[in-house]
């Protein structure tokens, strides 16, 4: 039959600013075969972390594994190193860390959802989402000094304290943002055309999610209850009002909605943080060198981020292994394409909110 068209989607493509390449074979725009190449961003970070960097500055490198969850990568590393050295952090430090992690989640989720809208051809919704997201970016910049690369975690603390002025603006902004998020949610929920592009598209059933070991919002949108924030103690989430958000539809739309649910929950957490903040120092003294092995899971915006660290008592780590959420979600992504339309492929990809810079490291 004369109906095969091979469509390359990436590595340079407007819908996915990151270099990743899918090669679709389509028939009448229905995808029949997929090839995925996720290795474009491989830079050699795992090697560099154990050769070029001392344990004291590896987290600056790891933050640049991915800009979306720069804070999570740095955080995972810092938590692990603190454990290997045996540092106990104070409640205030934990709270501040939680604050930035959750703010990061908010901006990342909003951007992800906006981006899905954009690739569905809904430019205005993207614009509105980005518009509201800017307030969160402003907060992050005020708190950490940069909009994307926060470098907020330091070993044994955080880099700077909140001023009362910022505290106040956090409260105001977040309350405003909550209202706006609910408004955005309504757009996503009620929009008919967007529904056509997102509902029942790229559907993952709970069983399939389990089979493919999905993580993050992708798993939670399919009704698979997994969240490192609940399954691993790295920050005091329980006392801050964390709740796991679940949806059962498993399609693009559900993934968006789970993200919105989580944004609302994160706003709650952040407000609780500000309310429950103690006085005190933002750093504790660190003595010693990392020694031994540790496994750590933290929840990045895109899902569970896993670190394995091995130290040998010197300045340089022995092994740093990073397993990131997109890395865990790529297999299921590949399965989803076959049989769907090419015009839905962009929405499917971006509903995973893929971040290949960490997949390839």
């Amino acid at each position: 039959m004369a109906n095969k068209i091979t469509v390359t989607f990436g590595s340079q493509h407007i819908a996915i600013p990151e270099p990743v390449s899918f090669v679709f074979e389509t028939e009448n725009e229905i995808i029949t075969k997929v090839d995925v190449d996720v290795g474009y961003v491989h830079r050699g970070i795992e090697q560099a972390a154990v050769t070029k960097f001392k344990y004291t500055n590896v987290h600056y490198l790891l933050a640049r594994v991915c800009g979306f969850c720069s804070i999570t990568h740095a955080g995972a590393y810092v938590h692990a190193v603190e454990k290997l050295i045996g540092v106990e952090t104070t409640k205030k430090i934990d709270y501040l860390r939680t604050l930035v992690v959750e703010l990061d989640r908010i901006h990342s989720h909003l951007l992800a959802n906006g981006h899905v809208a954009e690739v569905c051809g809904y430019e205005n919704l993207f614009m509105q989402t980005v518009k509201y997201r800017e307030s969160c970016m402003k907060l992050l910049e005020d708190i950490t000094g940069n909009r994307v690369q926060y470098d907020y975690y330091t070993i044994g603390g955080v880099s700077r304290d909140l001023t009362t002025e910022i505290e106040k603006s956090i409260k105001n902004t977040l309350n405003e943002l909550r209202k706006n998020t609910i408004k955005l949610m309504e757009f996503f929920e009620t929009d008919y055309t967007l529904g056509l592009k997102t509902r029942n598209i790229g559907k993952i059933t709970t069983d399939f999610a389990k089979k493919m070991n999905c993580v993050g919002p992708i798993a939670r949108a399919s009704g698979l209850k997994t969240d490192a924030r609940a399954e691993f103690d790295f920050l005091p989430y329980e006392e801050l009002g964390y709740k796991t958000q679940l949806r059962s539809e498993g399609d693009v739309w559900a993934r968006n909605m789970v993200r919105f649910d989580e944004v609302l929950n994160s706003i709650e957490i952040c407000l609780n943080v500000v309310d429950g903040l103690d006085e005190g120092d933002v750093k504790v003294k660190v003595r010693g060198k990392p020694k031994g092995e540790t496994f750590i899971r933290v929840e990045a915006p895109r899902g569970e981020c896993f670190y394995y660290l091995k130290g040998n008592g010197t300045n340089i780590m022995e092994r740093v292994r990073i397993r990131v959420p997109t890395y865990a979600n790529v297999p299921v992504l590949r399965e989803l394409f076959v049989g769907s339309k090419y015009s839905d492929a962009q929405a499917i990809v971006l509903s995973f909110d893929p971040c290949l810079s960490c997949t390839a490291r």
């Binding site: 407007i14 990151e18 830079r43 640049r64 509105q128 940069n146 909009r147």
Partner: protein, 160 residues
């Protein structure tokens, strides 16, 4: 005529393996708060119709040839803007084994935007600088002609 030129720069964005931080900011720049369409900038995503190649990232080995191909597909006069520390000698990724240490090793860069992540304002400043460079280039009309066969062979220009 080239008076008008300065007002319509179309952008081709390629991430050569950075951390996405810069790319997030490019997206933010498209958004309502910064709205770079004010300057007539559009994110075309298509080398054939772009004037400014906005590169982020330290250029990983795998992206290297893609970057070259995209550059060659762009019609002159064209400007290369490198955004972020990565593009300047690799940033944090300097001297990693799978990294080309910055864009300048692959293409001639016209404007560097420092920062990691640069602010969106920095991006806008850089773009405005790029416009000057662009104007100058289009006056000079120094086109790079006839890409050598060797280069084309090396990057594997598509055979159809």
């Amino acid at each position: 005529m080239s008076k008008f030129r300065k007002k319509s720069p179309w952008i081709l964005h390629y991430n050569t393996g950075g951390c996405n931080g810069c790319d997030i900011e490019i997206l933010a720049a498209l958004g309502p708060k910064f709205d770079i369409e004010r300057f007539g900038m559009l994110n075309r995503g298509n080398p054939k119709q772009s004037d400014i190649l906005l590169v982020t990232g330290p250029v990983t080995l795998k992206c290297r040839d893609v970057l070259r191909r995209l550059y060659l597909e762009m019609p002159e006069p064209k400007v290369v803007v490198a955004m972020g520390a990565c593009t300047f000698g690799g940033g944090v990724f300097r001297d990693f084994y799978h990294v080309e240490n910055g864009v300048n090793n692959i293409l001639p860069v016209d404007v560097w935007i420092p920062g990691c992540t640069p602010r969106v304002e920095a991006l806008i400043d850089g773009m405005i600088k790029a416009l000057d460079v662009w104007e100058k280039k289009s006056k000079d009309k120094e086109y790079l002609n006839n890409h050598s066969e060797e280069l084309l062979k090396e990057i594997g220009a598509i055979n159809d």
